[in-house]
């Protein structure tokens, strides 16, 4: 299947989604019949707590661009909601947050 077919040829989502936006199913059933990819995306969102767009794209084996379109459709139907990533420092380079970096370092060391 051509990747664009899943999204009806569209490569631009109606809402802005980051690769690290976390998606959750709302439990609302869409009123329109869903295509196979939309259904699968919704099922993945419902099956796990707050999966990122990147992870969903990997599991769906579709380009992230296409998955963003599918998810934004599902958002318009009210079937899923998105939680935007909260980057430290509000979006720019944020290495000045020392306590955060120390927590990351601790977490990594615990894995060794």
């Amino acid at each position: 299947m051509r990747p664009y077919t899943a999204s009806g040829g569209r490569t631009r989502p109606g809402v802005a989604l980051d690769l690290l936006s976390r998606m959750t199913a709302t439990g609302v059933r869409p009123r329109v019949p869903l295509g196979a990819e939309h259904t699968l995306a919704l099922r993945l969102c419902a099956g796990a707590a707050a999966l990122t767009v990147a992870e969903l794209a990997g599991q769906l084996r579709l380009p992230a661009t296409v998955v963003k379109v599918l998810l934004s459709d599902l958002m318009e139907y009210g079937a899923v909601m998105a939680q935007a990533p909260r980057f430290p420092g509000g979006g720019s380079f944020a290495a000045d947050d020392q306590s955060l970096l120390l927590a990351v370092l601790d977490g990594l060391r615990r894995r060794l």
Partner: protein, 200 residues
């Protein structure tokens, strides 16, 4: 529209893994990730940002670039996400998006093709993104000392160069820890220039 905006949500921690083709990015991300290594693709339109990819999709050359994705849950408040993608110039537009909010980067260098990591090094240097160079030593290759690699790549003395076996979880985790220590050094020198840190 259903948007959740939870200020209590954990911060999103993102680290980029860059380097040339075959340097070991996919291997590295897969080894440190707690989830099945996932690869997704981004579609690149040759016309760049101004173009609307909606029109003439069939006619236009559209390339895809693989994006490795990994996740490490550090504790209940901290999840580290990893993105690996090739550091070629033509993928810069993708890097721009990936860089937004990133903590820092690991540049994987393959000593057989050291020059392949130059574009990524340039990119992070120019953007002021903290990075370290991880030398992925393949079997049967000539071993270079970190200083030889530093000279060849033209790195400043402050950029750590570490050895890494991209196939090993422990080695990848140590490499990530080296990056975070470097970021700590950078932040402490920027907040109080008198502070000296010898750790790399």
């Amino acid at each position: 529209m259903a948007y959740a905006d939870d200020c209590d949500a954990p911060v999103t921690l993102k680290v980029l893994v860059a380097g040339g083709f075959g340097a070991g990015k996919t291997t590295f991300v897969g080894a440190v990730s707690e989830i099945e290594p996932l690869s997704t693709e981004e579609l690149l339109s040759d016309l760049g940002s101004g173009a609307d990819p909606l029109h003439g999709v069939e006619a236009k050359t559209t390339t895809t670039v693989a994006l490795d994705f990994g996740r490490i849950t550090l504790d209940d408040r901290h999840v580290l996400y990893l993105f690996g993608t090739p550091g070629q110039h033509r993928f810069w537009f993708l890097w721009e998006e990936l860089c937004a909010g990133a903590l820092g980067a690991v540049v994987i260098a393959d000593t057989r093709r050291l020059a392949d990591c130059f574009p990524a090094v340039d990119f992070f240097e120019r953007r002021g993104i903290g990075f370290i160079v991880a030398v992925n030593e393949f079997d049967g290759c000539h071993r270079y000392t970190p200083d030889e690699v530093r000279d060849a790549v033209g790195l400043g003395p402050q950029v750590p160069v570490v050895r890494c076996d991209a196939r090993l979880t422990s080695s990848g985790t140590v490499t990530l820890a080296a990056l975070v220590r470097h970021l700590l050094c950078l932040s402490s020198t920027s907040t109080s220039s008198s502070m000296e840190s010898g750790e790399a």
